[in-house]
Symmetry: C4
Subunit: 273 residues, 4 copies
């Protein structure tokens, strides 16, 4: 996002400043109005999905949905027009979310029901972090993402192991339990294995034979235990992150480092840092 | 809580010492009696909620409830009278809890049923830590709270992510499963998504279509895995706390503390420790 | 356990050596036979509880139960006779377990059904660690216990918080849901709150009103998140334990410590340790 | 796996290079074809287990199953023939998996239904790591395995504790709840205890008496809390691994490695690093 001096650059620059920046009074007002509109429109979609509410307020909610969609469409077009490099916006994360936030209403004309996908508008609320100048929140979010990225290989290996276990366990349980107890096919048995390993345990399908219950017990204890693996991985990455945060400044006198961020003097020789 | 010498300051000071302090014989006795009363009154409320018990002992329990309420009301008034700064007590955590511990009985005269909120009296039992002089317990509790506070931003980001996931997943499942399988509205589907992501898995609502079960599987594995995130955050904060705990040495020159264990000089003023 | 030289100390010493020690051939043989008897007798109790099995083999299993009980009773008496200080054995952990392992059979003559408590015999299998000379296993078990003991105060604070939450949440849900949906009393609602907070989620009781489901969602996310607290506590204790395990030997030349256990030379000055 | 220069060593060497190596064009092509065949054959087995699909495409799927089995059998024989030391392959992990991947089809001629065990073929997909030259993935997997191996004793102690708890709790609940509520035998009650302790909570069996619900609550809170133990163990091992990973410097004098980052001298021979 380019930051330019407001001047005699015409209406485009003024629009850009209002909808892309949050520094001016107009920009702040616009952003707050936007967040409120997003939340209201998501609530409207949710209410519309409740049969009793739709029965009474169906017309009003349909109108509200279209009003918000038209408003968001205008905003989307204004964003494209006012920015210097429209394509970098269109294909950015926010650009795609902004488009997905209006598409379902138009799609619902062709495929009824798809308007409920409008809840994806909730993602637009992420902009809230910008308005509130929650720089620290963004830093923390970045740190979390960085730690998860650093452990992606270990997590892939873990997920592959989990998938292998549930596929094989699903097939065995299909043979052991048979179709009588809900294990009607291998994919369904795999679904059951996932429900069990992740300790969700709906109980919509559950083993009834002694052998099946024994195997399920093994799977449960396994699921109960191996949760330790991703937890361990992520914890270690987080603790690493913390260490990196530590000051890397070294003392100009003795050359030692490892000082705290608030240190004014070297803790080894007392020299001013 | 002010600590004053008992003397010829009149009955107010004596009352204050008995109900606010736990150092004297009278104060200790009062506190033990208070804890017992609290536990008994909470048990009475619980018993009263069991239909079979209320059927037989309803009158007695109603009487007990009023006796305890009157006693606690007198105690509440005495506390306000005997303390120097009544408002700082009234609006303190314990002041509000003490008020909430008597209000429901009076409210139940207007709105039957609210007397069950009396279980909030259980919070009064927190005073037990004071009597038993479990200073260490209070220290530990403070340390836990401190660590959780230190990680509040990361946890906010985590909760926001979780909420976004359950809202979007709820809407998708509403479309995929339809009202037939219990997914009667988006809010209900979001409730299901929370039940699933947190690995609670009641099974009151569970997907029945193959596509729904596939999406649910993804949500379950996600919920199973991302529990690692808050765990990692909190663990790192706890381990940090442990480290900070070690050295409580303060600088003889500037008086600041928070030095590392291997520090030879004060990191703020450079003075030898 | 005293270790004495076998000599002309009579039959008592010989009995003692066989049943208390595992160093001699006889002692080892006795211990292996004991473990097998324990496992067999526990299996017999389990089988006896299955109606179909009891119907056919009830007599045989009853006989087996009495045979094992008589054998274990003789062993118990022999242990008391052969040891120098009988009371220190009787009131030790193993002494009490040994008694509990025979009592239920005799009690079942008075109170039918109590014989199923014989499964407590499984605790006797703990002796297996002694026979197999799994010294390391005992060390590891001690380390785990030590870490858990070190964090007992924090865990008490945590448990107290959890109990307070489930009591208050139980009372609120009792008011919100009413008896119609299974929330028939406050104790039952508290049971539901525990089932939910611990993410077990049987589904035998589950909220049906929108408000109840909202409150339940809050409880679930809370339960999902605060599991991080005990995990963090225990992890930090374990990591501390690990550090303590590190060699505390200091270099005789430069005096620095922190050497690995396999270090032969000081890593700072190269002097022989 | 021996790596030899391709030359005039006959067709055996050429076959070996294609099916065992992934460096040449032919070898890579073979491996990609193999992975695709494995995935397709596993999908075919899964589809065949769905009654509706088998009803329509049963014949085709049966044919596909046999085609893949014949292909994999030929590949298995080729592997044995082309390798120098056939037995070291046959009894290796991959050798056994390759055999298990074809056996069920032949077994299904004798015992109908066993063909579903063919999903074990999914294990063959592990070869994918070799083709894609995901050396890092293998390193990460090895690190995870190493950490789990290092904590195997602690985990054994933990599992033994869990087993003891569920056996004793199962027997008590069998007595408390009786056969009426699904606790029909001690083994079944133990199954319930595992379902509860691991926080899976199907709800197929759940306590109905007040005492049973109280005991179940204790078990749930226990299960909710002790998950911290394996998590703590594994996390500490992982963090250790991380530390060990850092320094890979080996001593110029004695060649040993595993030195700390702050080491100046080799800890084995004292030579300057």
């Amino acid at each position: 996002m380019l930051k330019e001096k407001p001047g005699n650059n015409g209406w485009r620059d003024q629009v850009h400043e209002v909808i892309f920046e949050a520094d001016t009074y107009g920009g702040k007002l616009f952003d707050i109005g936007l967040i409120l509109s997003i939340i209201l429109s998501v609530l409207a979609v949710m209410l519309d999905s409740i049969a009793e509410v739709r029965h009474i307020f169906g017309g009003e909610l349909y109108l509200i949905e279209w009003i918000f969609t038209v408003l968001f469409s205008i905003e989307y077009i204004m964003r494209i027009i006012s920015i210097k490099k429209p394509f970098s916006y269109i294909f950015s994360f926010y650009g795609i979310v902004d488009l997905l936030a209006i598409l379902p209403t138009f799609l619902s004309l062709l495929f009824p029901g798809t308007q409920y996908l409008l809840v994806i508008r909730i993602l637009r609320v992420l902009r809230i972090f910008r308005i509130l100048k929650f720089v620290q929140y963004i830093t923390e979010a970045k740190m979390l993402r960085q730690a998860l990225l650093a452990s992606r290989r270990k997590i892939t290996v873990f997920l592959f192991t989990v998938l292998t276990v549930v596929v094989i366990m699903g097939a065995i349980m299909y043979l052991v339990e048979g179709a009588g107890n809900g294990f009607t096919s291998i994919p369904k048995s795999i679904y059951w294995a996932i429900v069990t390993l992740t300790t969700v345990g709906y109980g919509d399908i559950s083993p009834a034979t002694p052998l099946g219950q024994m195997l399920a017990s093994v799977l449960m204890i396994m699921g109960y235990g191996i949760i330790a693996v991703p937890t361990g991985i992520v914890t270690v990455e987080f603790s690493r992150l913390k260490d990196n945060q530590v000051n890397t400044q070294s003392c100009p006198a003795c050359g030692k480092d490892g000082h705290d961020n608030d240190a004014v003097h070297c803790k080894y020789c007392g020299h001013k840092l």
